[in-house]
């Protein structure tokens, strides 16, 4: 649907949420989901030479890139891939009923809790046989991301991209700023930028998800990956002093965030970085798509969120990963296995990356020679990470993040002083939501 100015597609949360906003009509059309549970799926034949695949990549650029992957697979194996592409937003909102109806053999999805949820509900098939062949292509962190709660593999990752702090090299050079590696240096830098008349941290939270990215960064830097993961899984209390500390640190840098963020989209916020009015921006690497001018894009760089607790350093990277899953009872099992094996190869990833250079390959074997400087840096950052997180709405229950955390974080941003009552309200709601599992 939405093609970014650079002609690249916006991966992951960005596009999804942009569309979520744009598609109120689509939303109304989806209002009857539970009653129309048979509305998804192609119900294609059990022809051994065909595999059906449900895709959410409705944007022109990734759609074409995916088509090239499937064409290459057909050429290699003689198996045809029958693709059903749905609007990205609609696909996501109908996923429940789609998987319960007559889904395609293979479907595109996200790694993490969101994948494990459907695995646990028996709406996806384990693919350990596929991983026996492709296992060597992936680093350990990717293997962890592809497993369900039962330890079996359910997911084949294709590409990933990091969240970090983005900045303009020329701005840092001209003003003599240095990349901060500690929290204190970061706060000092914010202060300095403000003094220099810059907006220290560009910010737009109209779509409600960008704030979750900042929370993730502060939480796993301060409290570590394990705590973050178990907090997201609903196992820790939100009234814990550790969580409170996250919000205290956030409140410390909040005055350095761009004014009027509640009504601003991430695209508009990115424009202030493009126009050099802002110094830094905490976002995913898809921010590069707002840099339509090549010189500007070459000037874009990023650094990892600064260390806040020496026990954890910068060992965790938030790297949302997109890939493929197999539905509960695929019609052409052998074909599916072959397709998944192919999708897990570096070749498939390289075909995709040719079309979309804002992301990096999930495989550690993919050829990195054609990467841009930004991609190379992203690749190094992700492959060097001890732990990978997905994103708050991928690491936790989507109902919790969308109905509790999104409004909750927006409330905090409006009124940082009311954090105690907010956290106890979040905790109460979390208990009931996670209890209903």
């Amino acid at each position: 649907m939405r093609i970014s100015p650079s002609g690249l597609h916006v991966p992951g949360p960005s596009r999804r949420n942009v569309l979520r906003g744009a598609g109120s009509a689509a939303l109304l059309a989806g209002a009857g989901i539970p009653l129309l549970s048979a509305c998804g799926g192609s119900g294609s034949s059990s022809d051994p030479k065909t595999v059906s695949l449900g895709s959410n990549s409705s944007d022109a650029v990734p759609k074409k890139a995916f088509a090239e992957i499937y064409a290459a697979f057909t050429k290699q194996s003689g198996i045809k891939v029958d693709v059903n592409t749905k609007d990205h937003n609609t696909f996501q909102e109908q996923i429940n009923s789609y998987l319960q109806g007559t889904p395609d053999d293979v479907f595109t999805w996200f790694a993490g809790y969101r994948m494990q949820f459907f695995a646990a509900k028996n709406l996806a098939s384990p693919i350990d046989d596929v991983w026996a062949k492709i296992g060597d292509n992936f680093p350990d962190a990717m293997k962890q991301l592809s497993k369900g709660e039962d330890g079996k593999y359910y997911f084949v990752p294709l590409y990933t991209y990091p969240w970090a702090i983005f900045y303009r090299k020329s701005v840092f050079q001209a003003k003599g700023y240095e990349v901060p590696t500690t929290w204190d240096a970061f706060v000092a830098l914010c202060k300095k930028m403000k003094g220099d008349g810059l907006v220290p941290i560009a910010f737009g939270d109209k779509d409600a998800w960008p704030a979750m990215g900042t929370f993730d960064q502060i939480n796993f830097r301060l409290n570590g990956y394990d705590f973050h993961k178990s907090l997201m899984a609903g196992k820790e209390s939100w009234t814990d002093a550790k969580v409170k500390a996250v919000f205290d640190h956030w409140a410390e840098i909040l005055p350095y965030h761009q004014d009027g963020f509640m009504g601003r989209t991430w695209q508009d916020a990115a424009q202030t970085l493009v126009s050099k009015k802002a110094g830094m921006y905490v976002l995913g690497s898809f921010v590069g798509q707002q840099f339509t001018n090549k010189a500007d894009l070459d000037d874009l760089d990023f650094f990892a969120f600064p260390e806040m607790n020496p026990a954890y350093g910068q060992d965790t990277v938030e790297a949302p990963t997109d890939g493929f899953m197999v539905s509960k009872s695929p019609k052409n099992h052998d074909g599916v296995v072959k397709l998944m094996e192919y999708l897990g190869t570096p070749e498939a990833e390289q075909i995709y990356l040719k079309a979309d250079n804002s992301v990096v390959a999930a495989s550690s074997k993919a050829d990195t020679s054609s990467y841009t400087a930004l991609q190379k840096k992203a690749y190094t950052m992700i492959s060097g990470a001890k732990n990978l997180t997905q994103f708050m709405d991928r690491d936790s229950r989507p109902d919790f993040t969308s109905t509790v955390m999104q409004p909750g974080l927006q409330k905090f941003l409006q009124n940082p002083k009311g954090i105690d009552s907010l956290l106890s309200s979040i905790e109460r709601q979390k208990k009931t939501i996670f209890a209903s599992q």
Binding site: R20, G21, S24, A25, L27, L28, G30, A31, I33, P34, L35, Q92, E93, I95, N96, S97, Q100, R114, F117, K121, L123, V199, D205, K206, D207, A208, Q258, D259, G260, F261, M262, G263, R264, D268, Q271, R397, P398, D399, S402, T403, P407, G408, Q410, K411, Q414, S425, R428, Q429, T432, I433, S436
Partner: protein
């Protein structure tokens, strides 16, 4: 031979007996001509299909959502529906930080619509009823917002209100750091900002309703009051407005419905972020999506239903009473 006998006897029976009986037969035949078998099938089809659709889409779904309001269900498989009694409502009334603001905003929505755009629509209608020049053009201009879909209105107005590049902030210079007026995000402002957009549309709607009402006012009433020496305001207050009573009832009901079903405008505007929560948006946020909270969302929908019933039932009772009297 044997086969002919019954045929003959049938023919004999078919011969109509003379007298009154034959008249009766003719009446029956006439009735049959009015409703042939095909007619009856068509009728059954025309009455049956809408009835089935109505029962399925209105009654069954309404009852289903009332039942679901007492359960938790993630929408995956019917065996995962769990009865939880009043838990959803308890959570809603005590734990949900968005619920009471949403109820409040729906009420504010109604109060604002009835106090500002409705009288304004009446004012426009009275002016346009005076046979001034270009009245058709004015009518079209004021009515156009009603024709545009709410989603488009929301989209257009959020461009006007955009904090960085929007019309308003650009004109008054409120898009610089330190001077921001966040029309869309600030919870103290955004409901009023969106209500301006809603009123802009509602005024046109009300104007058309009142204009139709005014056209049906008997001109002799005006003449009579003019002869009695009433001025324009007195004529309107004492003669015209009281005759608009049926229109006022329609206006009241339409406005209540508008206030309760307010959704699309806000959803496009800022998705019901803090300050603009509405019941309809809470229902949507909870039910639609991946691991949906269908039971909880249904509970909110039931609250909305109860509110609508509280408003609609007295209206229906009054209407039926009037009909019975007539």
């Amino acid at each position: 031979m044997t086969t002919e006998i019954p045929t003959k006897s049938q023919e004999a029976a078919a011969v109509p007996p003379p007298g009154r009986a034959s008249e009766k037969k003719r009446v029956q035949q006439g009735h049959k001509r009015l409703l042939t078998r095909r007619d009856r099938i068509t009728l059954a089809f025309m009455a049956g299909v809408p009835t089935i659709l109505h029962v399925l889409l209105v009654w069954v779904t309404a009852l289903a959502s009332i039942l679901l309001a007492f359960t938790t269900w993630d929408g995956i498989g019917f065996d995962s529906i769990k009865w939880v009694g009043l838990d959803n409502f308890k959570q809603l009334f005590t734990d949900n930080p968005q619920f009471w603001p949403a109820v409040q905003h729906n009420v504010i929505w109604f109060v604002v619509l009835i106090l500002i755009p409705t009288p304004f629509g009446l004012f426009l209608a009275v002016q346009l009823d005076k046979k001034i020049r270009f009245t058709r053009i004015y009518q079209t201009a004021f009515f156009l917002p009603v024709v545009i879909s709410m989603a488009c209105i929301g989209f257009v107005w959020q461009l006007i209100y955009n904090p960085d590049t929007g019309l308003i902030n650009s004109i008054i210079g409120a898009n610089k750091p330190g001077h921001y007026i966040d029309w869309i995000g600030d919870p103290k402002l955004n409901l009023w900002a969106v209500l301006i957009a809603a009123s802009w549309r509602h005024a046109g709607y009300m104007m058309i309703l009142y204009l139709a009402g005014l056209k049906s006012v008997d001109p002799s009433l005006r003449e009579a009051s003019a002869l009695d020496g009433a001025n324009e305001w007195q004529t309107f207050k004492n003669v015209i407005f009281p005759t608009l009573r049926p229109t006022n009832t329609v206006v009241l009901v339409v406005t209540i419905i508008e206030a309760l079903r307010a959704f699309d405008l806000v959803f496009v505007f800022n998705k019901g972020a803090q300050g603009t929560e509405l019941l309809s948006i809470l229902v949507t946020n909870n039910i639609i999506g991946e691991s949906s909270r269908i039971g909880y969302g249904s509970a909110i929908a039931v609250v909305l239903l109860v509110i609508s019933l509280i408003v609609i039932i007295p209206y229906l009772i009054a209407t039926f009473r009037k009909e019975r009297r007539a």
